[in-house]
């Protein structure tokens, strides 16, 4: 060491520096991701951005309209309608869905007899074919002989028209969507729950904490990274809800279940205004992005990462 020449010393130090450099490690970890994003993701995303400034589609373009498509969106009654519907959907499904699946996950985390069986059951809706599920719910919602209204009738309540009613169609879809998503989010919560060391519960029990206190002071804070992630993903997914209204109501009756992405789909593949559809997609993107950033800003208030 003491007699090492200047150049040799430098070479070693460069390697050493590289080895110690957090930046180099960081890029090593994200290099495949950056490559994937550049090649597979952002090419198409930018193509869609380009198309949002024209009138036409990917087969041929009729003319450049600049921000015209965006202007049209703000004047488009249907776009506002779909945005209101989608927001209503997100507000109505995300918190309820998360609370229920968390409750379910906690229940499913117990070492009870037959828990494997129950877990499989709660996961069934997530894996059962969407066609079968949509059809069956449509049938359950049938105002005259559907299961739901039959039960309500027994309780002396006259059930609504559900999917045929402009007022109840969206809530009906929301109920179904919460029901179907329970198993999925339950699984994510379950994984998070497994990461909470038993010692914390034992410590809390010694301190005499009841079930509720344990939940409030151990489970909830330690699960907050998972909860945070599910919240972000649910909001992203919720704003892109499409399948149920597409399959069950085609946006009706009277636009009551028209969601933003359904409108985008209709513009892209039914009336073939791909340019306009892309502009709508970018407006939606911007809304979701802002909401996500707000959530990231707010996470320091309630998300606890390290144990």
């Amino acid at each position: 060491m003491p007699v090492a020449g200047r150049r040799a010393y430098e070479r070693v130090s460069l390697w050493e520096r590289l080895k110690r450099s957090e930046h180099a490690y960081g890029f090593a970890f994200v290099a495949p991701l950056i490559f994937g994003l550049l090649v597979f993701t952002y090419g198409p995303v930018l193509a869609a951005l380009g198309l949002s400034f024209v009138e036409g589609d990917y087969i041929s373009i009729s003319r450049w309209v600049g921000l015209g498509n965006y202007g049209r969106a703000f004047r488009d009654e249907l776009f506002w309608r779909s945005l209101v519907n989608t927001t209503y959907y997100v507000i109505g499904t995300v918190p309820v869905g998360m609370a229920l699946s968390l409750a379910l996950a906690i229940a499913m985390n117990q070492e009870l007899r037959g828990i494997v069986f129950y877990r499989a059951i709660f996961f069934l809706p997530t894996i059962t074919s969407a066609v079968a599920i949509s059809l069956m719910w449509a049938w359950m919602y049938n105002p005259e002989f559907g299961v739901i209204n039959s039960i309500l009738k027994m309780l002396g309540i006259k059930g609504p028209m559900w999917l045929a009613s402009p007022r109840w169609a969206l809530p009906a879809i929301m109920i179904m969507s919460v029901w179907r998503g329970l198993g999925y989010n339950m699984l994510l919560f379950l994984a998070g729950l497994q990461g909470i060391p038993k010692e914390f519960y034992e410590a809390a029990e010694i301190d005499g904490a009841g079930a509720w206190r344990k939940f409030l002071h151990v489970t909830f804070p330690l699960l907050s990274p998972t909860t945070f992630m599910i919240a972000i993903l649910s909001v992203i997914g919720g704003f892109q809800v499409f399948e149920y209204s597409y399959v069950m109501t085609r946006g009706g009756p009277l636009y009551s279940t028209l969601t933003v992405v359904l409108l985008i789909y209709q513009r892209a593949f039914e009336t073939f205004e791909m340019g306009y559809a892309s502009a709508l997609a970018y407006i939606l993107f911007f809304i979701i992005l802002v909401l996500t950033l707000i959530q990231f800003r707010g996470q320091s208030r309630w998300v606890h990462y390290e144990l």
């Binding site: 380009g50 990917y58 087969i59 105002p143 009756p253 009277l254 039914e270």
Partner: protein, 472 residues
């Protein structure tokens, strides 16, 4: 093109995916004159791209390999391979490969392929999308071939040939050059459950029926949970066990409108006709069938029951003949078909017909061979099998003993449609106003507003769109 691409094109994709996509989309659409050349490549994009995509597809025998694109539908998926194998033996200018996709993803996939210039050589069209792909130059204009071979277009039902014509200047179908040939067609008829008619003591639908007789029959056929008929005292409209008819929905509504001298929009697609008195009369009548006569179920009732005729919950319905073969196979009771009821104004009967058309992709490398196949499929060779998947458009095939024997008894009704039917508002931009109509009209069937009010609102919203989409 398969395998690893050159580094340059890869970098091009990398750096300028967006620019590339737009540039290729900007390029001129293919012209229909390509058929003069022996082998022509018409792909959107720069010439280099064209060179890159020249791949000689060939079957095992070394002949050109044509790709035919069909949506997943079991009877067709079974018939097509037989047609192709006959074609390979009898004509033999090419081999054919079948490609298919589910209906819901069929158009997104075709749209992608057309944008990339790699669509299959031939495909089945959809009545509502033919105009778009003719306009975009995706489908090949086959007029030169028809002239060359002296093909007589009168051998197919006129309404089915109209479904292949498109005029770019006006954006209207039914006129202009021919962009394909018809395979099978479906039309609106009256399906009726003979057992339920007999039980109610109602005579079967006949040639002279008007919509009012239709309504009378429907009321008598309607039965509540206690067995009381729709015209009896004490009938309970809240607990209906069997409804008399189902006659509300896209085509059925249009058929009633046309027979009354009304319509949704004018034939040149420039004016909304929904608020014409003749139209409002029909819309009010349809709403009355639900709310006043209780012989037609409200839309909510259909939820979760894809086919109420099958389960004997309705006695008759106006519906397309697309169900015919399925019903022959599946129905367990006595049933038949009849013509649609006439209007009350003494106008000649009119009904709807939609055609499954076959088209050649303008970018095909084998236009001549594709034409051979198209001609074969729409001719007697293909119709031999198509008559098992629907009503053949070739008059000779439809009139044949082979098609007309079998259930139901009045099978002839299905082929006679060809002589008096019309198509459903064939225009390039009609999806835009139909969407509004389909949503807004629901207020009427829900009983929230009167026909007059709903119809006026719709026309207020549709007229500006009609102005926007009108071309000439």
């Amino acid at each position: 093109m398969k395998g690893i691409c050159s580094r340059r094109s890869f970098l091009k994709v990398l750096g300028a995916g967006a620019v590339g996509a737009i540039a290729s989309a900007c390029a001129a659409t293919p012209t229909p004159q390509v058929i003069e050349k022996e082998v022509t490549v018409v792909v959107q994009g720069t010439p280099q791209v064209v060179k890159e995509t020249v791949v000689v597809a060939a079957g095992p025998s070394g002949k050109p390999l044509l790709r035919f694109f069909m949506y997943n539908f079991d009877p067709w998926l079974q018939a097509l391979p037989k047609i192709f194998s006959d074609f390979e033996q009898e004509v033999g200018t090419a081999e054919v490969k079948l490609e298919s996709a589910p209906w819901d993803q069929f158009w997104p996939r075709f749209e992608s392929q057309a944008a990339a210039g790699i669509a299959p050589d031939l495909q089945i069209g959809d009545p509502f999308k033919v105009a778009r792909y003719c306009d975009k130059g995706v489908y090949l204009n086959i007029d030169p071939y028809i002239e060359r071979d002296g093909v007589d277009l009168a051998q197919w039902y006129p309404v089915t040939i109209e479904a292949c014509r498109f005029e770019k200047e006006t954006g209207l179908m039914g006129r202009g050059p021919v962009f394909g040939l018809p395979a099978t067609y479906v039309g609106t008829v009256t399906y009726y459950n003979k057992d339920l008619f007999d039980e109610a003591g109602v005579g079967y639908p006949n040639e002279d029926w008007t919509r009012l007789e239709f309504q009378d029959a429907a009321v008598k056929l309607t039965k509540d949970a206690n067995g009381k008929r729709g015209d009896e005292a004490g009938f309970d409209p809240e607990n209906v066990a069997v409804y008399g008819c189902s006659t509300i929905g896209g085509y059925a509504t249009a058929v009633h409108l046309w027979n009354n001298g009304g319509g949704l929009v004018s034939d040149d697609q420039k004016e909304c006709w929904i608020d014409k008195p003749e139209s409002i009369e029909i819309f009010q009548w349809l709403a009355d069938l639900i709310h006043k006569y209780h012989c037609n179920p409200a839309p909510a009732w259909f939820q979760g029951q894809p086919d109420v005729f099958l389960t004997q919950k309705i006695a008759m319905k106006l519906d397309g003949t697309w169900n015919l073969d399925y019903y022959v196979e599946k129905l367990t009771f006595n049933w038949d078909i009849a013509v649609v009821p006439k209007g009350t104004k003494g106008l000649p009967r009119i009904t709807y017909a939609g055609t499954n058309t076959l088209h050649i992709f303008s970018g095909t490398k084998y236009p001549d061979q594709s034409w051979d196949l198209l001609k074969f499929m729409a001719g007697p060779g293909g119709m031999k099998y198509f008559m098992k998947t629907g009503t053949p458009c070739l008059i000779a095939a439809a009139e044949s003993e082979e098609y007309l024997t079998g259930k139901p008894e009045h099978r002839r009704v299905a082929i006679e449609i060809g002589s008096y039917a019309r198509t459903y508002y064939p225009h390039l931009g009609n999806d835009r106003w139909k969407e509004i109509y389909n949503q807004e009209i629901q207020a009427l069937y829900l009983g929230e507003k009167s026909a007059e009010e709903v119809c006026r609102t719709i026309c207020e919203k549709i007229n500006p769109i009609l102005k926007e989409i009108a071309r000439a």
